[in-house]
């Protein structure tokens, strides 16, 4: 009797743990289908810069550095190891053995040099070439006067070194960004204008075909230098799929991931359905939605007015308006970003205090202004909520709901007094506070056509930022982040922006796809890290 009891207890215990064990260990094989509404524009790593092709390119190509999957932690990728000189001006990377391009040829340091030069060369029209301005020889190549980056030196057949003209603490992040991904020169030249349609890289997935407007097919790279990944044998992207229809197809079992995210109109319904509990991965993004105020246009040139706007906006209400797809933001940096100050609670919602500040600023009866916003839902609704909040303190804001390109143009030209950034800005290109400053808050971005729509230019803060980026020694990391914290605290005090919320990412996927939820909401491999997800029904 006792032995039967023990045996059955043991059997029950085994049964209880077995499914958990089966569910967790990734299996090799299987296929996944991801849908997008728009066709991908290109798979050229030096050119592709939208959130759709970003992670597809990351699966076909690699760079010297990458991030641990699902995290913002740097780790060497194509490089096996690296050293930094004491003055922070020279980075030396030792490449791994056995890395091959998809066409079979082994990768060499010359390929790394070629790829970086391609990013900077104006002929490539790369939107990201400007990131590498610290490399020696950048000005000559970008200006069209030279044909190579003199700062990149091939030391031997496994080692490559980069010499910078100034210390740049973001350099390792720059080696992990798509624009620095390694491409084979002979394939680029052979394909010519078609290179973006026929990519050949070193990554986990090999390119198979691209039927324009219909689909892209990738297959597993069996010679990938990382053992065991990717888990999927085939990965297909289908285009021209309206997200509403894609959701129906997912429910039908025809596709695996709705690449564009859950359509806002169906968000509440999908989240409320208990069957979807494990199928929607939720993660943080390196994103902030904010209202910019043009500090060169009165009355926004008055600090008290800007602070009043910050205190007038009811962020909780706006977050509820979008079905809690975000969390209220109290500062410019998103919580997932290093440099986020957990002690800084920003401006509390205080319409009476805001009215008082306005009176102090010489605007006791309020004023009239314009609020620009992108015309795709939910941004007009959010703009309306902001309009109502401003009306409550006496500020009459007329809404200008326009196409994305038009709002961006109005911001770049300095024409718009207030802009709601939703749908347009700002998601970090890499997880470092520097990426959230120079382009959108620094003096360099406050020019005609720049992305600093508030035209905020604080030379002192710029100097502090540059100083912080000069702290490149390994033990100065914390000090540097502390400096950046200080910079952003000052920005919050000066209030060129009113931060409103930080969006979360929601990825709706089929039950047969497995993997940690952080892989489906990877902050770097946006939206999904295809290298590490697996099919539970693989044979």
């Amino acid at each position: 009797m006792r032995s039967i009891l023990i045996a059955s207890a043991a059997a029950l215990a085994l049964l209880a743990t077995a499914p958990a064990a089966l569910a967790q260990s990734p299996k090799q094989g299987g296929a996944a289908v991801v849908t997008f509404n728009n066709d991908l524009t290109t798979l050229d790593p030096q050119v592709g810069y939208d959130w759709q092709n970003w992670s597809v390119i990351k699966s076909i190509f690699d760079g010297l550095m990458d991030y641990k999957p699902g995290t913002t932690e740097l780790e060497p990728d194509l490089a096996e190891s690296y050293t930094v000189s004491d003055d922070g001006l020279t980075y030396t990377f030792k490449l791994r053995d056995g890395i091959k391009f998809h066409n079979g040829r082994p990768m060499t340091p010359a390929d790394v040099k070629y790829s970086l030069e391609r990013a900077v060369d104006p002929k490539t029209q790369s939107p990201g070439g400007g990131y590498f301005s610290a490399i020696e020889g950048y000005d000559a190549l970008a200006g069209g006067k030279a044909s190579e980056l003199t700062g990149i030196r091939i030391v031997d057949d496994k080692t490559i070194s980069f010499t910078l003209t100034r210390p740049d603490a973001t350099f390792l992040h720059l080696m992990a960004i798509n624009f620095a991904y390694v491409v084979p020169k002979e394939e680029v030249e052979k394909a010519g204008a078609d290179w973006g349609k026929k990519p050949v890289g070193t990554g986990a997935f090999k390119f198979v075909e691209w039927v324009p407007g219909q689909r892209i097919a990738l297959e597993r790279n069996k010679d990938y230098f990382r053992q065991g990944v990717p888990y999927l044998d085939k990965l297909t992207f289908e285009f021209g799929q309206d997200p509403t229809v894609a959701v129906l197809r997912l429910k039908n079992g025809e596709i695996d991931i709705v690449g564009d995210g859950i359509p806002p109109a169906q968000f509440a319904e999908i989240m409320a359905d208990p069957a979807n509990k494990d199928l929607v991965a939720i993660g943080d993004q390196l994103q902030t939605g904010y209202v910019t105020m043009n500090v060169t246009q009165p009355p926004f040139d008055n600090l008290k007015v800007r602070q009043a706007v910050n205190m007038a906006i009811n962020k909780d209400r706006i977050v509820r308006l979008i079905n809690n797809r975000a969390v209220p933001a109290v500062q410019a940096l998103p919580p997932a970003m290093p440099g986020y100050n957990t002690d800084n609670k920003g401006y509390a919602y205080d319409p009476d205090g805001a009215k008082k500040l306005l009176a102090e600023a010489g605007q006791p009866d309020g004023f009239t202004t314009e609020l620009y916003a992108m015309n795709v839902d939910p941004n007009p609704r959010i703009a309306q909520a902001i309009q109502q909040d401003l009306a409550a303190i006496g500020v009459k804001a007329e809404i200008r709901s326009l196409a994305q390109a038009e709002v961006i143009a109005a911001g770049g030209s300095g024409k718009a007094p207030m802009i709601w950034s939703g749908g347009m800005a700002w998601i970090a290109d890499f997880p470092d506070p520097a990426n959230f400053y120079y382009g959108i808050l620094g003096c360099a971005g406050a020019v005609e056509g720049g992305w600093n729509w508030s035209k905020y230019c604080n030379k002192e803060l710029d100097a502090r930022a540059q100083n912080a980026d000069g702290m490149v020694k390994a033990d100065e990391g914390e000090k540097r982040i502390g400096e950046w914290k200080g910079v952003f605290d000052e920005v919050l005090k000066d209030a060129p922006w009113a931060p409103v919320f930080n969006e979360k990412r929601f990825t709706y996927h089929s039950a047969r796809l497995g993997g940690d939820s952080s892989l489906f909401t990877d902050p770097i491999h946006i939206p999904v890290n295809y290298d590490y997800i697996f099919a539970k029904d693989a044979q």
């Binding site: 509404n37 728009n38 066709d39 524009t41 290109t42 050229d44 050119v47 810069y49 104006p122 029209q125 939107p127 990201g128 070439g129 400007g130 990131y131 970008a142 200006g143 069209g144 204008a193 078609d194 973006g196 349609k197 324009p212 407007g213 219909q214 289908e238 285009f239 021209g240 799929q241 309206d242 509403t244 229809v245 129906l248 197809r249 429910k251 039908n252 025809e254 196409a403 994305q404 390109a405 038009e406 961006i408 143009a409 109005a410 770049g412 290109d429 382009g439 020019v447 005609e448 056509g449 992305w451």
Partner: protein, 306 residues
Amino acid sequence: MIAYLARRLSASALILIGVTIVTFCLTFIIPADPVAMIAGRNSTPEMREQIRIQLGLDRPLVEQYAHYVQRLAQGDFGISYARKSPVGDLILSRLPATLLLMLGAIIAELLIGIPAGLYAAARRGQTGDKVAMTLSFLTVSTPQFVLGLSLLYFFAYRLGWFPLSGYGSLSHLILPAVTLGLAGGGWYSRMMRSSMIEILRQDYIRTARAKGMSEKRVMFVHALRNAILPVIAMIGLDVGIFMSGVVVVENVFGWPGIGQLMWQAIQSLDIPIIMGVTTVAALFIVAGNLIADLIAPLIDPRIRLR
């Protein structure tokens, strides 16, 4: 006849030129800068200037237009800003899908409109007639986006009779063709009805009935043959209506035609594609109208060639 043809052709050519000028000017009046879109967020003013020069956007408008027309005459529609591939190839690869969809829509609207019109005419004044005309009113007023999604939801998702979006077989074609053509079907049913009523009043119909011919023969052999002529003459104009409809319908159904291409290009302000698709669409519309104008006098000799 030749003079008529020549006049119509020259009018068509003028229309096409006008379309290219208007589209060209429109895209430059929009206060958005394509260079900023291409150059991206981290571009410096110097880089943007380089790109502007490379794309020839720093030249005066008239010069840019002249270059554009010159290349157009050689069949070169330029290079897409975002995709860096030739616009002509993009359009050419997607055109067959759109033409197939339009053909399907024409068949759908005829299959829906003609029987409905016949039915309404035969039951003129009765409930059947009133129901048919109300339905035709509804089909013309329903937005195609709503119609398409509703059809998808009920017939593809719920009933599973058709695939949910895609391209490649007859079952993929039916729902989008019906969505695109349904409004036309409503239109044609009314036209068919009034045409039939007009004809059934004619003396020769009365004669046929007096001779003892069955009502069926009267309707389908004599009346229909004449009533259908105005409908046939109008089909050429459908090309124009469908060219605007495909932008929405192709997007809803994931149909890889030039309408979907236009939609995506508008969102990213990809001017070469916008201009290319507009020009090609205008070409087909003008051709369709031309054919309609040529067929009409052939079908009904009472129409004088002017």
